[in-house]
Point group: C2
Chain length 732, copies 2
Amino acid sequence: MAESEKPCNLHVDYVIRYSFGNAEQSQAIAQLEKLLQSLAQVGLQAEVRQGDESSLLVFVRASEKRLKRAVYRSRVRDWLYGIRNSEPTSSSSTETQTEAERLRVVHQMITHSNEEGGAGITPNHGEWKDVTALFPLHDIETNKTWMRDWSKKTFLSDDDLDQIRNKFGESVGFYFSFLQSYFRFLIFPAVFGFSCWFLLGGFSLIYTAINCLWCIIFVEYWKRQEVDLSCRWETKNVSVVRTSRREFKPEKVVTDEGTGEKLGVFPATKRMQRQLLQIPFALLAAIALGAIIATCFAIEIFISELYNGPLKTYLIFIPTILVSALVPTMSAILTSIATKLNDYENHETKDAYDVALTQKVFVINFITSYLPIFLTAFVYVPFASLIVPYLDVFHLTVRPFVSKEHAVAKQSHFQIDPARLRNQVIYFTVTAQIVGFAMETIVPYIKQHALRKYKKYNKERNGKLERNGDKESPERPVIVFDDPVEEVQFLTRVRNEVELSDYDVTDDLREMCIQFGYLALFSPTWPLVPLSFFVNNWVELRSDFFKICMEFRRPVPLRTDSIGPWLDSLGFLSWVGSITSAALVYMFSGNAQHGPNGEPTEIKGWALLLTIFFSEHLYLIVRYVVRAAMARIEPPNSRKERADRYLMRKRYLESISVESDERDDDEELASQSEAPEISRTSLEDDARKASLHGADPAARFWLHQRGWTESAQVGAGIIQAQPVRGNVKKQQ
Amino acid sequence: MAESEKPCNLHVDYVIRYSFGNAEQSQAIAQLEKLLQSLAQVGLQAEVRQGDESSLLVFVRASEKRLKRAVYRSRVRDWLYGIRNSEPTSSSSTETQTEAERLRVVHQMITHSNEEGGAGITPNHGEWKDVTALFPLHDIETNKTWMRDWSKKTFLSDDDLDQIRNKFGESVGFYFSFLQSYFRFLIFPAVFGFSCWFLLGGFSLIYTAINCLWCIIFVEYWKRQEVDLSCRWETKNVSVVRTSRREFKPEKVVTDEGTGEKLGVFPATKRMQRQLLQIPFALLAAIALGAIIATCFAIEIFISELYNGPLKTYLIFIPTILVSALVPTMSAILTSIATKLNDYENHETKDAYDVALTQKVFVINFITSYLPIFLTAFVYVPFASLIVPYLDVFHLTVRPFVSKEHAVAKQSHFQIDPARLRNQVIYFTVTAQIVGFAMETIVPYIKQHALRKYKKYNKERNGKLERNGDKESPERPVIVFDDPVEEVQFLTRVRNEVELSDYDVTDDLREMCIQFGYLALFSPTWPLVPLSFFVNNWVELRSDFFKICMEFRRPVPLRTDSIGPWLDSLGFLSWVGSITSAALVYMFSGNAQHGPNGEPTEIKGWALLLTIFFSEHLYLIVRYVVRAAMARIEPPNSRKERADRYLMRKRYLESISVESDERDDDEELASQSEAPEISRTSLEDDARKASLHGADPAARFWLHQRGWTESAQVGAGIIQAQPVRGNVKKQQ
């Protein structure tokens, strides 16, 4: 391992923050002792340093010998679960070890229970609730080099992705791979979309069809790519090794008949009953968010298109402000309800928990992200002239400002704004993406720096005060500066990193998934959508890496063999896209120039539904075909994996057959030398033997012919006895 | 094995029919010698007897020793491919062996290539084209017992199914299991359908919804059941062990880089191009069959509802006769085209070939089975009054018989026959099932017996003639009666069995699948459909067993872990059912009493499409939920399988950790006794060491605290140095 040569991070594997502020001093000391002892028992070396006023930093590193054993154990487990193909030998632990594997195994040594050979330390949980952080340190040099390199490249190479995986583990590696594949795939629709926009304008049938096809191919391609990557990174089937959730509350403990283990059991039926709560939850989310969005939408339309009274210039911002304030609040409330629901569902494994939560969060995201556009496209446009008059009824309070005649006049020649849909799509696919980027990357970075400056300033002021005022704790300034001179810089950095929050790859995946949704669902409206995303994702790829490096603690490497439930979300969005795209094209393509005039009778219900029906089923058929075609093409790493597996089996089978063949060859010789002897024995002899075996007809049946030569003689006799008619005919 | 105690079939494992009629005598004898020698080389004992005038019967049995070795090899292979969980030991070949396993392994010994350790005999192919049959013998006693027992039972027990599997192999076992599950599942819709029919009549919304739900549950249940059965029968993942097709023509031979094997390669893209021919094929099938069916349908409607001229009583049979004659002919032609197409696709494995063929045949079956009803429901009923007048134009030739006025009068008050749809469904679900049963079971049985009688009569007559006339081959009568007296009965039976044809489980599966289709697609029309099928399938289960035992050679046991592509067909039919059912209910339920009056304007296009849209998507959502729910419930055998696997892994891991722990415990003790010593060394000592290590800051970092006790002391110092504010507050 090249990285291990230069002592980055002073060989520190993990940093533990031990907060002692909440416990009595004696208890805190006892618990600290227990912590250090537990670490020492599994072969982890520790160094204690001051954290801040109420915490210690425990630096942990694994002894090479114990680490080797742990790596071996982990690899054997992988082999048994079919994740590895080759059985690891003890000596093979000299195999190249990635940083991610090292960190993962050390993490297991720290967190696994004693029975599993770990120290049993569970941060923020149970008796270890004072262990408030456990994280590896960033490799600052490498991070900087990569950021510099990537800013000059268009695409990351497979090598770059491998290195991300080696540093941050497979789960982050999968995210960047996905982002990279998605980015690369966007080239085609970006170019094609631009051409369509230039030549055909919006709502072009050709663009829509190609876009749907592209979505199918991308989703199916990524499915294959996932498998291939999991072969490349040796994490295939890793989801089989399920880690149980600590929070799981078993209903009863049952001794498994098969394995003799005591297992906490929670009946699946009971969980399913609890999961039924998802239905009212989804309804609640739809109604709560729907009401907010629809109301604001209605207000906006009323103000912008009907209302013409005083203060219009200012009032027009009301709905935007309302949406910006209410939707995130409601989302947060719903997310917390979703989390509670998910906790209540009491999942046994972390994976199951995450999948279930992802599904619930996806419902919220789907509504907040796409409902506004849905309302415009499928409610406002077809039904506006029916609904708009009622808007005024809802807003009687606004009336005083408007002269009655004016409002009525306005209503009568109310005109749908044909650009509204396009503008909304542009807002969500360009403006919102830029705002999102700023909110998730730039703002936190500025905030972080400001906070650090403020803290430093505060500390200095405190120091000054204390030097001047001599308060109750004269030691404090001494402690702050107790670091050995040569470690000051290092410890300052660690103290900064410990302040950061933990990175969760799910948020970034969700963002990409939602983005893909706009493309699948609404891009026929404005074919420049893929181009915008293409540009956006070039930045996204770099800024996400920047974010992980600078704004979060280094993530603990997690293994995974896919992007998880998001793949299903992509498939779902692409499916829904086949419906919405068809509907959009049918509704808008005819009058693309002047926009729909909003008479619902203009849009024929049966024709719209027939369009949707055909589009959806065509989509399903094409997907089936693409899937079947993709399944036939074996990606390179899968092929390699299969070849390895085959070789392993072949070697084993050969070792067996050589062994048994050797044993049997001698017997064979014996029996073969015996056979001619028997065939030489006369028929009378056979008859005698037959009578000896007496009663058993089966034995007699098998004694007629001894050895294959005798059978052949008998057969030849029968053949020769037949008339040669057939042959004669043939020869003639 | 209980069966092996009584010498059923004189211990014969397989019978080979060697036909020598087509080759020269000397060649035939040489090839026979080769056959017998090949068999002997792999340890198979053979006895030759006369078959008929142009064939020999070679009876084969495996020597126990060689069989044991082959069983062991086969089991090791299974273990390597993850089909078995436990590694078989040589001694474990004493494990209970089923008859099916024995026959399967012997079959492998005969047919596998020399490299794989078999005799390399490939019936009907290549140099072994004269080996025209290879089959095991029926176990007549057991078959009779079972048939008697089952006729008294309603349901077969799991034990019965296990026994079928033990006798005939997993593929037949899976068919009977499926049939049994389907039969058992039919109880509910049979009862419910009867109640609905009695209380609500046809086209009831409740019946339709419940029927769709039932279809989903059944298909998903069977999916789980399949997995469970494959665990029970230890055939999980058996499809991974792909047997290559002999007919596969590789385009080029490539040496695999990974494995170093020479592999015949056929590019997947080329195969896909060839598979595109399926589209014109499907169109051709649809047009060819559709034209026949639609024409006959039109003729029938014309004759029965418009025509009123002479000979009507006889003419009415014309379309039925035409359909009965043309549809099977066209199906046969299309099936042969499908087979040719499939051959042309050049599949590498037998499984892939079978799946591809099944798909093609399914298209043909779908059209022949369901198109007539589709035409009635979705063309005749809504559009009859538009189309019927044109029928007369097609049939100008019929006019002379009809008085012009009469025809016109008839046309003007043309009335759709409301009972037509129901009658058609009844025809397909009752009459056609009975006819099918007769055609597939009773008729062949009678034919067989008649044929045997005729042959016997013929032979006797020939014998007489020869005894009287002394023709060119005086030996012939001698050969016919050359059987040893005690074997006459046995050999007669074998000669009868050799005349039978090979059983293919696919045909029976297809029949059931098509039957399920009627239930899913059209049963709302007449809710007694499931009751009819319930009765039919009680008979079917027994008659199919009777058929296998009496009308076919005993099938060679094949392993499988599912019913194959038919499962997908079931899912597809159930999906299409959600569309057709909804459409039927919408179109007919309103006027169930007096039938639709056939005005297409009465049926609102958008409402029909909306009904279909909702029904289909509701179906998909419910299917998703049912699938998710089913996935949570682990069937018993899967659980057992998982427990076994877990135990195996645990044992292995324990063996490793005990081993390495023992080794390391000593080292541990040594290092622990060393640690306190170091911790006792003074800080000055450390400082000296640090200066010794000099330049390396990492080494210095880790030398501050030696042993966990020192770290704890340092930590305690820091904690105690903090002001106790927090604690004081807490204690107050």
